[in-house]
Amino acid sequence: MTAIYILWLRELKRYTRSRAQIIASLGQPMLYLLVLGFGLGSVFQRAGFGSYLQFIAPGVIGMSVLFSSIFSGLGLLWDRQFGFLKEMLVAPVPRIEIMIGRTLGGMTVSVIQGLLVLIIALIVGFRPVNWWHIPLAIVFMLAISMVFAALGVAVGSSLQDMQGFQLIMNFLVMPIYFLSGAMFPLAGQSWPLKIATRIDPLSYGIDGMRSMLLGTSTFTPLTDIIVLACAGAVLLLVGAYRFSKIQI
C-alpha cells in the first residue's frame, strides 16, 4: 500500500513543481473559452442554442482533464527515457501497485487541472444552473480521468520511444477530443458522425458534466456514468496487462 501512496505522491509533487507548465497548460483552455466562447457566441445564439460560453465550458473542462490524464499515462515514456522506470520495475513491489499508484496520481492531477479550468470559466462568465451539482461534476471529472489515465498507461507501455508520440497525439488524442461533442451539440448529425461520437467515451463524460452543470444532456447521467465505468474498467485491465509486459 505504501508503494501506491509514494507513487501517487510523486505524481503530485512533479505536478506542483512545474509551475510554468501548469500555466502553459491553462493557455489552451483559455483560448477555447474566450475566443470560441465569445467568437462563435452570436452565431450559436442566433441558431437558437443559447449561450455558447455556457455550452462550451463543460467541454473545455473535459478537454483539460482528457489531456492531463492521457499525458500522465504517457509519462511512462519519459520515465523510460530518464531511466526512472527501471528504478521502479526492479523494486520488490508488484507491478500492479506501481500502475495503480501512477494512475491515481494522474487522476488527482487531472481533476485539479479540471477544477482550475472551471474556476477560469467562472471568472469569464460561466454560470452553472445549480451550484450544488459541482461535486457531481467532479465525479464525472474523476471518471473521465480514470478512463484516459488508463488508456495513457496502455499506450505508454506499448511504445518503446517518443517517435510515436505525434501519431498518438494526432490520431488518438485530438480525435477523442473533437468527436466528443465538447464543441458542438451531439444531436442532429449525419449517421457516420453519430456513430463516431457514440464510440468516444469522452462524449459521455462531457455529456454527464453538461447535465450536472447546465441541466441539459443528450444521454441520461446514469447512462453516462455506466459507460464511463465500463470503459474505465476495460482500459484499466488492458493498461495493467500491458504494463506487466514491459521489458527494459
Partner: protein, 265 residues
Amino acid sequence: MISVRNLVRTFDAFTAVNDVSFDVAAGEIFAFLGPNGAGKTTTIKMLTTLLKPTSGTMVLDGLNPLADKNEVRKRFGIVFQDPSLDGDLTAQENMDFHGVLYHVPHKLRKHRTEELLKIFELWDRRGEQVKKFSGGMKRRLEIARGFLHTPRILFLDEPTLGLDPQSRNQLWTHVKKVNEAEKVTVFLTTHYMDEADRVAHRIGVIDHGKLVTQGTPAEIKEQTGTRTLEDAFLKLTGTTIRDESASATDNMRQFAKMWQQGGRR
C-alpha cells in the same frame, strides 16, 4: 553469494550469453569485464530479475531469482548503466522514494539516508532537485541509494562511465569503504582496466557471450604474461572494435535532446 551455472540467453538467432558459469564469494568485489556487446549487461539483467535466461541456473544469497523474485529484489541494490533518478525530485526525496519501495522502516530510512548522503558527500545538497546535479553527483547519489536498503549484493553496471578521474577515484573509494564496513558483495562492470585492477578482488572476462577466463588481477596478468590488466584484456579479447547498433533507448535519447526544455509532459 552469487552462483551461476551454464547460463544461456539467446535473442532470436543471436546468443548474447553462452554457457557462462562463475561464483562470487560473500564480501567480494567481482569485476565482470568485456568489450561492448560481450554480454555483461545481459548477464546483470538476468541476475537482477529483469530478464529470463533461456537456460541455466542462478543462485543469489541462497535464493533463485526466477522463483523468489521479490525476495531476491530486496537483497540486491543496482546502479544501472544509464541514470535512473527522478530529476524533479530532490536527493532526499529520491532516497525516500527508494526506501518506501524497499519497505525500509521510517526511522531506519532517515538514519541511513543521512549516513549514506554524508559518506557520499551529498548531505549538504540533499534539498536540491537532482536535475541540477553534475554527472558525478548523480552517480554518487545512485550508489548511495543502492546501499539504502542494506542489500547483500550491489550491482554496478559501468558506474564510472563519463566521469572525470577525480570523481571516479572518489567513487571507488566510497564503494570500497562501504564494501568493507557492511560486507556487501559488489558485482561490477567497467571499461576502465586500471579501476578493475585497483578495486576488484577477482575478475571474470567475457567475450562473445563466453567466459574467457577468471581469477585475481595478478593471476590474469600472469596467465597472459602481460604487465598491465589492459594488455591482458586486449590479449584475451583481441583488438577488433565492436559496434553495437543503436537501441530504441538510444533513439529516444536523441529525440529527447531536441525536446530537452519543457519536454516532459
